[in-house]
């Protein structure tokens, strides 16, 4: 089909690109109107539209399959198991975390009475440490 009203009418190529969205009602009102006008005069584009509609009907013939009868129950029990398992694991993890810090604080705990400076004075004679200690 030729462009009857140049600038307003659409050519077949443009219409065919938009015909799928037109079918789905996804074009704006102005575009839909232009496509409708084109279709009213173009048998070839009407055929394209018809072919797309047939394709959709073909796809809609797919039967709906049912999930197995106990599906909902199965999903719910699986979730419950996951929740309990997860919370149990979280509890264990927290316990281990606490234990780690407990041990860490035990190891790093300072002696009850502060050590005297003399306790550190047993450096080898003549060593830099001994000299430094003497200056102190």
């Amino acid at each position: 089909m030729s462009d009857r009203k140049k600038g307003v009418s659409m050519n077949c190529q443009d219409v065919r690109k938009k015909i799928s969205a037109y079918m789905d009602g996804e074009n704006d009102a102005a575009m839909s109107q232009r496509i409708r006008e084109h279709l009213s005069e173009c048998a070839e584009c009407r055929n394209t539209l018809q072919a797309f509609q047939d394709t959709d009907s073909f796809l809609r013939k797919l039967p709906t399959h049912e999930v197995s009868p106990g599906f909902t129950r199965q999903v719910m029990s699986e979730l419950r198991y996951n929740v309990r398992h997860k919370s149990h694991s979280a509890y264990n993890l927290l316990n281990r975390f606490m234990k780690f810090f407990e041990i860490l604080f035990d190891v790093s705990e300072l002696p009850k009475s502060p050590a005297s400076l003399e306790e550190f004075a047993d450096f080898p004679p003549g060593s830099l440490c001994k000299i430094y200690f003497k200056i102190l």
Partner: protein
């Protein structure tokens, strides 16, 4: 009055899952979505034997992600997005895409899953065979539009592409299906 999907998600967010109200709300959500999700996964992945496990996995992920759900989008779109991503991963993981549809129909025959007449089974086989020949993203977009009734904007959220890309995917899927049908 029945609760909206958003009310159910809010109830799941507000309650502890192990509380009766939390469980009740989630069970209602499962009942609402199990059928459409199962059929989408079944048609998209093409293997019935894995579709039920995948659908179950979808609900597990939905529950895990429920506390982070923000009411900006629709609940249905969000749930289908999870289903789409899981199905995509399954297709990638198995790396035996060529055999997916074959597996589906072998299963169907062996288990006599379809009690309907042979004609309707043959028709279904035809449709599934045609669908298998369409690229994955085009197939997902077309199924979500035609069989699940999502808008282009919703499909764009599910597939994580622009609405213009969805328009193009659906157009190409329809064109391809049309060609395949006319070849027959």
């Amino acid at each position: 009055m029945t609760d909206s999907d958003l009310d159910l998600i809010k109830a799941v967010q507000a309650e502890s899952f192990l509380s009766p109200r939390g469980q009740q709300a989630f069970e209602e959500l499962v009942k609402r979505y199990q059928q459409p999700l199962f059929n989408f996964v079944c048609r998209y992945v093409g293997e019935r034997s894995v579709a039920e496990d995948l659908t179950q996995e979808v609900f597990l992920r939905v529950w895990q992600a429920a506390p982070r759900f923000e009411a900006r989008g629709k609940v249905s779109t969000w749930i289908f997005k999870i289903a789409y991503n899981l199905s995509m991963n399954e297709i990638k993981r198995r790396r035996r895409y060529q055999n997916f549809y074959k597996g589906f129909w072998d299963d169907a025959r062996a288990e006599s899953l379809f009690s309907k007449q042979r004609d309707s089974r043959e028709l279904e086989e035809d449709i599934m065979r045609a669908l298998a020949q369409i690229p994955e993203n085009q197939r997902a977009a077309l199924l979500l539009r035609v069989n699940d009734g999502f808008s282009y904007k919703e499909i764009s959220e599910i597939l994580n592409v622009s609405p213009a890309a969805v328009e193009s995917l659906i157009f190409r899927a329809r064109t391809k299906l049309r060609e395949l049908r006319s070849e027959k």
